[in-house]
Assembly symmetry: none
Homo-oligomer: 210 residues x 4
DNA sequence: ACCTACGGGACGTCCCGTTTAT
DNA sequence: ATAAACGGGACGTCCCGTAGGT
């Protein structure tokens, strides 16, 4: 909407301590606001309130609102991803890994208020936000590839029926979970999440090699 | 400072066909913009461009941007719904009805640019838009109830296994399709839709009474 | 300090009613703030508080803070001048006119808080404020010329000793009164004003033609 | 947010002549800037220019801008006072002392650029500068008491008419001279000073005991 | 139905006074 | 004593949604 404008780069490489801590604080506190209100829906004034800093204090650490939003998305997505993956390494095989991932998604409390940052960002229909759109795209690709990886390993281990296609499994799991989040949000109820969780568990069972 | 909702009521029902036609034109052309940019992301200026009218011309027909957005959502949802239902009445039984509905969703060209207005509106994380949020909620409820109706009829007709729960079917279908839309949008590809379509078709098959 | 920058001219000629009234309100309420805090010492935020408007509301009517300050000074000086001149026309001769003017200055309540806008503006040592400096200069010249006029008329009427020099009388009256204001402000007491009032009255008596 | 007055006390008294000399240099060079631009109108950057030091170099000697301004005012007022008093001790009686003081004020070149620091500081309408305001108040009181002292001595010596009131003389002299400075500044001319000088000389004559 | 005025408020830049690390 | 980092906050532009006047 507004021509992007070359901001003078804020200190790219940081070594000190106070500023770095402040920057981190800004990111964390902003992430929650962005996730609840969207990029365009979040004003600098809200960010000032959330961080307790003035405009100058924020703009010292980030060249633009968009840059801050990008950092906030990274932070949010990392948190969400860690929540998804939590305990995954203890699962012995691919199917239990996927089951566990769905379980994490459905049962764990959301790591930051406002729901899934991937869904929120993907749907934040602002034209110019190519940066944010790309980040969401990359996050989805990463998530997808994690699942593809697990399924591929499972295929190699003959856990799955040989006709199982890893990309399709990823699509079905991700779409199911994200769609459930959307329905849950609109209906203000967690039960759609549980329903989808059960459905996907059952579905994964059907993929086992006979 | 500024009293809210103090708009004098614009002529709700007009008899003159000229005015009514203009109003309808505004709704249709605005719906596309709202669906692409979201409520907050759409400015009156864009609406002026889309309709070819001046601000005053639009405000003659709608008391506020929000009122127009509500009308636009109604229009959009009606169009989408008709697309979903198209040809449904020719289906002989519940399962084919549901299959056909999924098919419509996956294969038909989207009735208006910007994707599913329900998903878009649900995710348009703006605080104050209670009106719009309610409309999205109602639309989801209506969609859900349509599916529940079909499944219930199917149960009565012993098409389905008796343990099938209509509400769950609705959740699974809707979440799957909407999630697929979101993935498709982010990946700029229709293939996630096809994948989910195939998945849901197969899933519906498993519900058949043995 | 800050390069002046060509603001696009706000509506130079006004015809309407609402905006004009708002503009006047802004001027009046700002005048008090400027007179108390000085030009540089007054922030737009204070002006927003004082007027109850937002930044955009103020900048619609004035192209810059400086422009607003100029209008506020005009308003303030007019008010002060009217206070000085009040009842002057009923005085029969030059000496009583001058005596009355001093009396007004010393005894009347100050028309707007913060003291004499001429003194305040003259001492507001900001470099770039040529506009304001000029206005103060012009105000002083006007005041001086009013006194010169009265004395000249008195000379023509043989009220004064013939060696009286109008310009000097003006200087003595103005400097005495303004100096008294400064002392009064610093000592937070009106008594310096009274003292100077009495001194100037006595002084004027000594000028009478024998 | 920012705790005020948390400056760690800078070394108040230094023994090293090097540091003391630097401190004195800063005070002298800053005094001129403060006297020309006012407290708020003077930036640390200007002070850096004037002193040839970096910010840190200044802050090594003064805990805050305000502290430096206070020292600068003291320096300035001492200089001005010395100029006023110069040669006063050689005057044989009270009237000639006062006449000489006025003469010094009117004819001597100003000891530092920017005019009278008392007037400037008194009119520097900044709210929070209580420190500076108090200093100006004290300077005025000192000046006033000097004059009162002289007049009182003169009364005791029967130089003056017995109805002369020392406090009033002080007010009349100070207000007249300071008012003249203000007019002179605005008109960029020294002639108002001369006019007031002549006026006050004549006035003092009228106070002589008959 | 147009056009313009109106007041709101977001955004980002600049620079200020101060603190910290050298 | 320097130099850079820090957080504060003022300023002014732009554009938004809305209200009137024509």
């Amino acid at each position: 909407m507004r021509p992007i404008g070359r901001n003078k780069m804020p200190p790219a490489a940081k070594k000190s301590s106070r500023g770095t801590a402040t920057r981190q604080r800004i990111v964390e506190q902003s992430a929650s606001v962005f996730n609840r209100h969207g990029y365009a829906g979040t004003s600098m004034a809200e960010l000032m309130d959330a961080t307790g800093l003035e405009k100058g204090g924020i703009y010292r650490h980030f060249g633009s609102k968009q840059e801050l939003a990008a950092a906030a998305f990274d932070f949010a997505w990392t948190a969400v991803r860690e929540s998804h993956q939590q305990g995954l390494e203890t699962c012995p095989d691919a199917i239990s890994k996927l089951t566990w991932m769905v379980r994490n998604f459905v049962e764990l409390p959301q790591p930051l208020p406002g729901g899934c940052p991937l869904l929120n960002t993907a749907m934040d229909n602002d034209d110019g936000n190519l940066l944010l759109r790309d980040k969401a795209h990359a996050a989805l690709a990463q998530w997808r590839s994690t699942i593809v990886e697990i399924v591929s390993q499972g295929l190699r281990d003959r856990e799955f029926r040989p006709d199982v296609r890893p990309e399709d499994i990823a699509t079905i799991l991700i779409a199911g979970m994200e769609g459930a989040v959307m329905v849950a949000r609109l209906e203000k109820s967690r039960s759609p999440l549980k329903t989808i969780g059960a459905h996907l568990h059952a579905y994964l069972e059907t993929l086992k090699a006979s």
